[in-house]
């Protein structure tokens, strides 16, 4: 638009200058005609010494919270770059990438950092790519294109939530955890008592004590140190699943694993991606690491896993099943409200 306006201005100035025989206007017309190629060359010259990249190759953020991605503009030239437009695309797997135009610049021989904020609605891996760079001249008339291709990934993790998982005494640990590692017994020992906190399971409320004191007290159970929970994941069809579906799956997996970790020393996640794979999580950090592994795995490589008899299986549809029977079908609402204890 600016180019067209300038050309129109030059044409009008030339015409009026000639018509009125007003030499200064003719000078301006010619000056603008000369200014255009000058600015074109300038934009090309500025482009040669400029590079834009992400500060780190990987970033992580929690769903719903903000995180920053630093974009660095490095100008190795002697002339300042005041306007550089970067086309940045971001995409979840299986989703259409969206793009933003991002303006950045840097003084001569300097580096400038500008930050992008991530506030992603879904869990998963977002791939950010600087697809195109356009380095403008000082008057923003011409923009010299420059290939960039800088890439970074942002892993979006679920919020730190956990399902209140209860190991049903009647069932014991059978079908849930590995028998050899189990200490056996249906009851866990009370390690201590403490005041109720928001989010504590109602099942852990020490009813007698609470009744006596008039305040809510909860039992802190002794963790079963050698108790390892197993969970089989059926992620077949991940290559076609929408980000929203995958996000819910990851959230359920994360919350379930976190819930299980309260009762077990570790959680083992089995899935098939070309071959049988196993991820073990002993802490929340491990859960995130496991999720990151899942994020990174090529969605097309997932195949249907078969859980041994009595083992729990979590599918992409968020259905937790055992021996083909649904134990629980998770939905997004399970995260919004206290949904009671999950008896496994």
């Amino acid at each position: 638009m600016k180019k067209i306006l300038l050309v129109l201005f030059a044409a009008a100035a030339f015409y009026l200058g000639g018509a009125y025989r007003f030499t200064p206007l003719l000078v301006f017309a010619v000056a603008i005609i000369m200014l255009l190629p000058t600015m074109f060359i300038l934009s090309r010259a500025l482009e040669k010494k400029l590079s834009v990249r992400f500060e780190r190759p990987e970033y992580s953020a929690e769903k719903g919270s903000e995180a920053a991605i630093s974009v660095i503009c490095e100008n190795g030239g002697r002339l300042p770059v005041t306007r550089c437009r970067a086309d940045i695309s971001a995409a979840y797997p299986n989703s259409k990438p969206s793009k933003i135009k991002f303006q950045i610049g840097a003084d001569a021989n300097s580096e400038q950092t500008k930050e992008l904020e991530i506030n992603a609605p879904y869990c998963g891996l977002i791939e950010l790519k600087i697809e195109k760079l356009k380095v403008c001249d000082w008057l923003n008339i011409f923009a010299a294109p420059k290939k960039c291709g800088a890439v970074c990934r942002a892993a979006i993790y679920p919020k730190e939530q956990e399902f209140d998982v209860s190991l049903a005494p009647s069932r014991g640990m059978s079908g849930f955890a590995e028998r050899p590692g189990l200490r056996g017994g249906s009851d866990t020992e009370i390690k201590s008592l403490r005041e109720y906190e928001h989010g504590d399971s109602a099942r852990l409320i020490h009813r007698n004590l609470s009744a006596r004191t008039g305040e809510l007290w909860v039992k802190e159970l002794e963790k079963q140190a050698d108790f390892i929970a197993e969970l089989y994941l059926d992620m077949s069809g991940a290559d076609k699943a929408e980000p929203r579906t995958m996000s819910l799956f990851y959230e359920v997996l994360s919350a379930l694993a976190a819930g299980l970790l309260k009762n077990a020393a570790a959680v083992r996640l089995f899935y098939k991606s070309g071959e049988d794979r196993l991820l073990t999580a002993r802490s929340r950090g491990d859960i995130r690491a496991a999720l990151f592994e899942l994020y990174k795995t090529d969605p097309k490589s997932f195949v249907a896993a078969e859980a041994p008899s009595g083992r729990l299986m979590l599918g992409l549809d968020c259905r937790l099943s055992r021996n083909g029977k649904t134990v629980k079908k998770f939905t997004a609402k399970d995260f919004d409200a206290v949904s009671g204890v999950l008896e496994i």
Partner: protein
């Protein structure tokens, strides 16, 4: 689907990936001040270069520097104080306007004269006006430059282009400063908080200066060639359009003194048939000018003069009446003069081809023979060389008619001296100065002076370039451009004759050279008149000829040729005037005197000083002009301010309404696109339906946005800033999607509805 967008100003948005909000780096006040100062100084110089605009430059420049420094510093350092200072400046301006309204009105009046092309010879100062306007302009510039970086360059471009139209011939330094300021502010206008903008701005200005220097080195030696290039292009376009449309303007354009180039076509306009091959060029009058004003001649009104004469003398003018008697007076006298050397009058018929009969073309010394024959009319006429009127040698039976004609001539001559010597001298100060103080004793001396003036000062060309719209084309022709064609020569000569008290009229019509005629089968001679035959000349009133053409237009590149008028001879030779008794008053007339009696005029030459004349004329229009000028300036300004206020109010309301306003716009968009027009947004399935209607939109985002809007509208507590911003952006995104799906006319209706 991920929404990622770049948001520059909001801290938090709904966007999944946004640029982290940052303030644009504040410009260095000193550099910004310099850029603004360039602009303000440029504006002042520009203003000063408009003819007729005069103010105390030192004072104005000093005031501009002070205001500019104050406003630039405050704007870039402390906005709050900037607004306070702006309010103070506005109050100051208001006080000045209230207490100095009389002076300001008068200065506005002078300014209006200057801008509309009627500058006074000695322009009065408009310093107070300039000083009053300065704080307003300087206060407006920094926010304008910061808010919309492109406004300053566009305004600068418009000013630069308008310079020749305003006659700002000496505005080159002003234009340079304005251009530097525009380029500087454009380079400074880059968003973001990174450095280097001042450096880029300074380098841009330097680059511009270098480029202008190189351009000037190229353009100045070849300015004429470049101008000719534009003229050639303009001419080609003109002819191309004429050829393609088959429409050409009547080359005889009435009394308007052209401000443009003259491009000729080969289109035939008239056919003239005569019975005798002419010995001299034949002039066909089409338009005759009376009073001259602002580059235009009013049509001469001989009928009212003749009616006045009829009323005064109560003569019996016979069946022809006074008008017809007068129109053929000199022809009839020549016809009835007993002189064997006078040939029988020739006959001429004029027929229209494409000039659509707008003008009625009459040869000199003629009598209408037949009207409307074969789509034209016929005259009997004499050539100038055949006019040998002898008032004393007519047949006895014609003597009463002769006496009547003599009376009519005397009466008309007296009236002509009164009416056709009027000149708006105050609007032609330079021409007045040129003619002032010349002591000529004869018509020949006057003619010689005019001829020499035109020879020395001007050059004939069909492409003299355009004149400034407000300026006087005759003064520009004589004193500025020095180039013109027949209309300019004729107008200048007519005005100069009038300045010396010689009755003269501007005439446009056709001039036919003898060589234009071709002999026909039956002994007649035909000439097809084209644009090139269209011409303008002066006619002066000679006692034995009546109105006689005086052609002051030289040949291209040559001098004025020809006999000029019968009896003209070089001034050093014996003054004979061809037996003409001019009885002219050679002292310049003034406008007021023209109202008085001719005799009184002769006895009491103009005594009023030129300054007084100007003042008198100014007084004549002063009561109306300030109002008109104020209306011209204040009304658009007020309109602009009103629009700006309304826009600001709308934006503020929108901001206050927050996401609800955007949601309402979304509903409007849906309604405009005939999508879900039955929904009002409160329905439970609104989001689902909207998601179906807009498959590109993220349903969860829409749900969140709608929920936020509902909270904003009906909730106990307002939604969080995050949610509100999210809702606004989502609604905007949805509106944009809906707009894309609309047909153009609906899009336009929706857009304009929103604007209104």
């Amino acid at each position: 689907m991920i929404f990622i967008k770049h948001n520059k100003h909001e801290n938090k948005t709904e966007k999944i990936i946004t640029s982290r909000s940052e303030r644009n780096a504040r410009n260095n006040p000193l550099f910004s001040f310099l850029v603004l100062l360039c602009g303000i100084f440029g504006l002042l110089l520009y203003f000063a270069s408009i003819p007729g605009v005069y103010f105390e430059k030192a004072l104005a420049f000093a005031a501009a520097a002070v205001w500019c420094a104050a406003f630039a510093f405050l704007f870039y350092r402390n906005r709050k104080y900037f607004y306070i200072a702006s309010a103070c400046a506005a109050a100051l301006v208001l006080l000045t306007a209230v207490f100095g309204r009389g002076l300001l009105a008068a200065q506005l009046d002078y300014l209006s004269d200057a801008l509309t092309g009627a500058p006074a010879a000695e322009p009065p100062s408009v310093t107070l006006l300039v000083l009053t306007a300065l704080p307003v302009i300087t206060a407006m510039l920094p926010p304008l430059a910061a808010a919309a970086g492109n406004i300053a360059p566009i305004a600068a471009a418009l000013l630069i282009i308008a310079a020749p139209m305003l006659g700002a011939e000496k505005s080159a330094p002003a234009l340079l400063l304005i251009a530097i300021s525009a380029v500087g502010s454009l380079a400074l206008g880059a968003k973001g908080n990174y450095g280097g903008r001042e450096k880029a701005s300074a380098l841009s200005c330097a680059l511009l200066l270098v480029i202008i220097a190189v351009s000037a080195a190229f353009v100045f030696p070849s300015a004429d060639r470049l101008s000719e290039l534009t003229n050639a292009a303009e001419g080609k376009i003109f002819r191309f359009i004429a050829e393609k449309t088959g429409r050409t303007a009547d080359p005889v354009q009435g009394g308007k003194v052209s401000r443009f180039n003259n491009y000729l076509t080969d289109r035939e306009q008239l056919t003239v048939q005569i019975t005798r091959y002419p010995k001299e060029p034949i002039y066909l009058k089409g338009f005759v000018g009376g009073d001259y004003n602002k580059g235009e001649w009013d049509a001469a009104d001989d009928t009212s003069i003749l009616n006045d004469i009829q009323n005064k003398y109560q003569n019996n003018w016979g069946i022809l009446g006074i008008t017809n008697t007068y129109s053929s007076l000199f022809f009839s006298m020549n016809l009835n003069t007993i002189d064997d050397t006078i040939p029988y009058p020739a006959s001429m018929s004029v027929r229209y081809i494409s000039s659509e009969g707008k003008n009625y073309y009459v040869p000199y010394y003629s009598r209408v023979d037949t009207i409307y024959v074969y789509g034209g009319y016929r005259f009997q006429y004499y050539e100038k060389g055949d006019m040998r009127i002898n008032w004393n040698n007519v047949p006895r039976m014609y003597e009463p008619k002769r006496d009547q004609c003599l009376n009519l001539r005397a009466a008309y001559s007296a009236e002509a001296k009164e009416i056709y010597t009027r000149v708006p001298e105050n609007r032609l100060p330079r021409l007045r100065a040129l003619c002032e103080g010349k002591d000529f004793e004869s018509l020949a001396e006057i003619t010689d002076f005019i001829k020499n003036t035109l020879d020395e000062r001007t050059e004939y060309t069909q492409t003299p370039g355009w004149s400034t719209p407000g300026g006087d084309p005759v003064e520009e022709f004589l004193f500025d451009r020095g180039r013109g064609y027949c209309v300019h020569y004729a107008s200048a000569a007519a005005l100069m004759y009038r300045m010396f008290g010689v009755p003269a009229r501007y005439v446009t019509g056709y001039m036919i050279e003898p060589s234009d005629f071709e002999r026909q089968k039956y002994g007649t001679y035909n000439a097809a008149l084209k644009d090139k035959n269209a011409h303008a000349w002066v006619e002066i009133f000679l006692q034995d000829y009546g109105w006689t053409p005086v052609d002051m237009t030289p040949l291209e590149g040559g001098e004025i040729e020809g006999e000029i008028y019968p009896g003209y001879s070089e001034p050093e030779k014996t003054e004979q005037n061809g037996g003409i008794n001019l009885n002219i008053n050679l002292i310049p007339k003034n406008r007021d005197e023209s109202e008085t009696d001719i005799q009184e005029n002769t006895e009491n030459p103009a005594t009023a000083e030129p300054e007084e004349q100007i003042r008198d004329y100014s007084m004549f229009e002063r009561t109306e002009k300030p109002i008109r000028t104020a209306a011209k300036i204040i009304l658009p300004l007020a309109l602009l301010i009103a629009v700006a206020l309304l826009a600001t109010r709308k934006i503020r309301r929108k901001r206050r309404a927050g996401c609800r306003a955007e949601f309402a716009r979304l509903l409007d968009a849906l309604s405009a696109a005939d999508i879900m027009s039955e929904y009002d947004g409160t329905e439970p399935d609104f989001c689902e339906k909207l998601s179906e209607a807009l498959p590109e939109a993220d349903p969860s985002a829409l749900r969140r946005a709608v929920s936020t809007v509902m909270t904003a509208a009906y909730g106990k507590n307002p939604p969080s800033d995050d949610d509100s911003a999210f809702a606004i952006k989502t609604c905007r995104g949805a509106v944009s999607m809906i707009r894309k799906s609309m047909p153009i006319y609906k899009k336009l209706v929706f857009t304009f509805k929103n604007i209104l």
